[in-house]
């Protein structure tokens, strides 16, 4: 890896572009299946639970809890070590991989199931990432 490497950022596909555009606009857009009433993630053109293509885009509230996490010592460009890799569980159901920010990356400060709130992080190249932090 070269020394001037930058952090990995998503390259949206046509099926996921609406999600990443939403994040850039500070909105968490999920797909909701009308026939089976389930919320799907990651985005795709159909519902993986029932096979229907009657999926609509809905905006999530942003309310979430910390489903699980680890404190990583890995070297990643633009990441301060250590950092917290977490899984945020949205109140609508879906879980999202995320980075837990605005908190020490310290297992004493982070608790499974603690309340989280979204932090929209503008990374390079106009890409925005969805981080979370402990709810204030």
């Amino acid at each position: 890896m070269s020394t001037n490497a930058t952090r990995p950022v998503p390259r949206p596909t046509p099926e996921t572009a609406h999600y990443w555009k939403g994040i850039a606009e500070r909105k968490i857009l999920l797909q909701h299946c009308t026939p089976c009433d389930k919320t799907c993630f990651p985005p795709r053109s159909f519902c993986p639970h029932c096979g229907s293509d009657a999926v609509e885009v809905v905006e999530a509230s942003g309310k979430a809890t910390l489903y699980s996490f680890v404190i990583s010592r890995a070297r990643v460009p633009e990441f301060e070590r250590p950092y917290c890799v977490g899984i945020a569980e949205l109140e609508e159901g879906p879980r999202l991989m995320t980075q837990i920010v605005d908190s020490p990356a310290d297992p004493e400060q982070l608790l499974v199931d603690m309340a989280l709130e979204p932090v929209f992080f503008d990374a390079a190249d106009g890409v925005t990432l969805l981080h979370f932090r402990p709810k204030r």
Partner: protein
């Protein structure tokens, strides 16, 4: 359906750091030695299963002209799945003698990249940007949830590498053989809290191969055929962030139940276990999902020394991925040790091993494969 016998088995002559052989040569050495073990030659092989490298390329390199190929590559449990697929193909008459060949230059990266995650697009989009650089920050995520849910202590988890190192001490080919204590584990470098260095597998080069054939030919080819009584495979969420219940490995349970049903046996009938262990918590998850321990009690079972040398249920008797070897797709080495224990040729040979179970994980809890093997033909 499963009337399959393993009639030849071999690992590469060296494992660990083998930086003077390409991946294709690791595969080939293991393949040729496994065939020699069966008293066969490459000319006898009409089916090939392998992962990572394309199977037709490997067949061509070996000089094979197979009529059946399986290139299923779902990570570490690919070998268990290849056994299952080979059993079906042989039963269907599509081939007679299948070579299941594995080799990985996972540490030295000769002829390939070293540890290669083969990241999928969805992982790249939805997980990688948040610092999930590989197994240390992905395969470990369920552990924190598990520990919170069941209250398992760090000292209990640390017993997994301690006990497995005792098996490795009896195994000359193991990469790490010096005894370690719980304090040593907890004092080792923190890799991704709550996981310490000694709770992570070694990263190595190596290979292994199996020669399998139909029941009626087995007795002619081997004095000690090993029979596949039952097998299972299961597939779940490909992204670790989507794992339905992080405190329970559902894919392990599905694959195990399939294998037990096919074999007509249950956990009480198993004398020896090889449980995939890229990290110390994976065998704990496997013990619970396969029915050897209640939920939340897998760590206690290991800490009780039941799985240690002299215990009632020997587990990972080479030292496993934590101490013996782990090239990236570890499943082959688990099956090889099951075969050795059943043949009576293991370095840390246990007494009275009639039935052994080898269980593999694929990806980040995305897949599982299970093989139930015996030295007796199924009744």
């Amino acid at each position: 359906m499963t009337e399959l016998a393993i009639v030849g088995a071999a690992e590469t002559r060296r494992i660990g750091i083998v930086d003077d052989m390409s991946e294709l040569e690791l595969i080939s050495e293991a393949a040729r030695d496994a065939l020699a073990d069966a008293g066969l030659t490459l000319a006898d092989v009409d089916g090939l299963a392998t992962s990572y490298e394309r199977p037709n390329l490997v067949a061509n390199y070996l000089g094979l002209k197979p009529s059946w190929l399986d290139g299923t590559d779902i990570g570490g449990c690919s070998t268990m799945v290849h056994l299952r697929h080979a059993a079906a193909a042989i039963a269907a008459g599509q081939c007679k003698t299948v070579l299941i060949a594995h080799g990985e230059s996972g540490r030295s990266g000769i002829g390939r990249e070293a540890v290669d995650m083969q990241f999928t697009d969805l992982h790249r989009q939805f997980e990688l940007p948040y610092g999930t650089v590989g197994p240390t920050t992905a395969l470990t995520l369920p552990l924190t949830r598990y520990m919170a849910q069941y209250g398992m202590k760090a000292e209990t988890l640390a017993m997994v590498p301690v006990v497995q190192r005792e098996w490795a001490a009896k195994t000359p080919r193991a990469m790490l053989r010096d005894p370690i204590t719980v304090d040593d584990v907890l004092a080792s470098k923190m890799i991704a809290w709550p996981v310490h260095l000694f709770e992570c597998c070694v990263v190595t080069d190596g290979g292994g191969a199996l020669v399998v054939t139909a029941a009626e030919r087995a007795a002619d080819l081997s004095e000690t055929p090993v029979w596949l009584w039952g097998s299972g495979e299961a597939y779940g969420e490909a992204l670790i962030s989507q794992m339905p219940d992080m405190a329970f490995a559902d894919v392990f349970a599905q694959s195990g139940a399939m294998a037990f049903k096919e074999a007509g046996v249950g956990p009480d009938d198993i004398d020896h276990l090889m449980l995939y262990d890229a990290f110390a918590h994976i065998p704990i998850f496997a013990l619970e999902a396969l029915g050897f321990a209640k939920r939340g009690e897998g760590g206690d079972l290991i800490a009780s020394r039941a799985t240690a040398p002299g215990g009632r249920l020997p587990v990972n008797t080479t030292g496993g991925g934590l101490s013996y070897t782990h090239t990236g797709r570890y499943g082959m080495y688990a099956v090889q040790e099951s075969v050795r224990q059943l043949r009576g040729t293991a370095a840390a040979q246990c007494d009275n091993i009639d039935v052994s179970l080898a269980h593999g994980l694929g990806g980040m809890f995305a897949a599982a494969g299970t093989s139930i093997l015996s030295k007796h033909r199924k009744r």
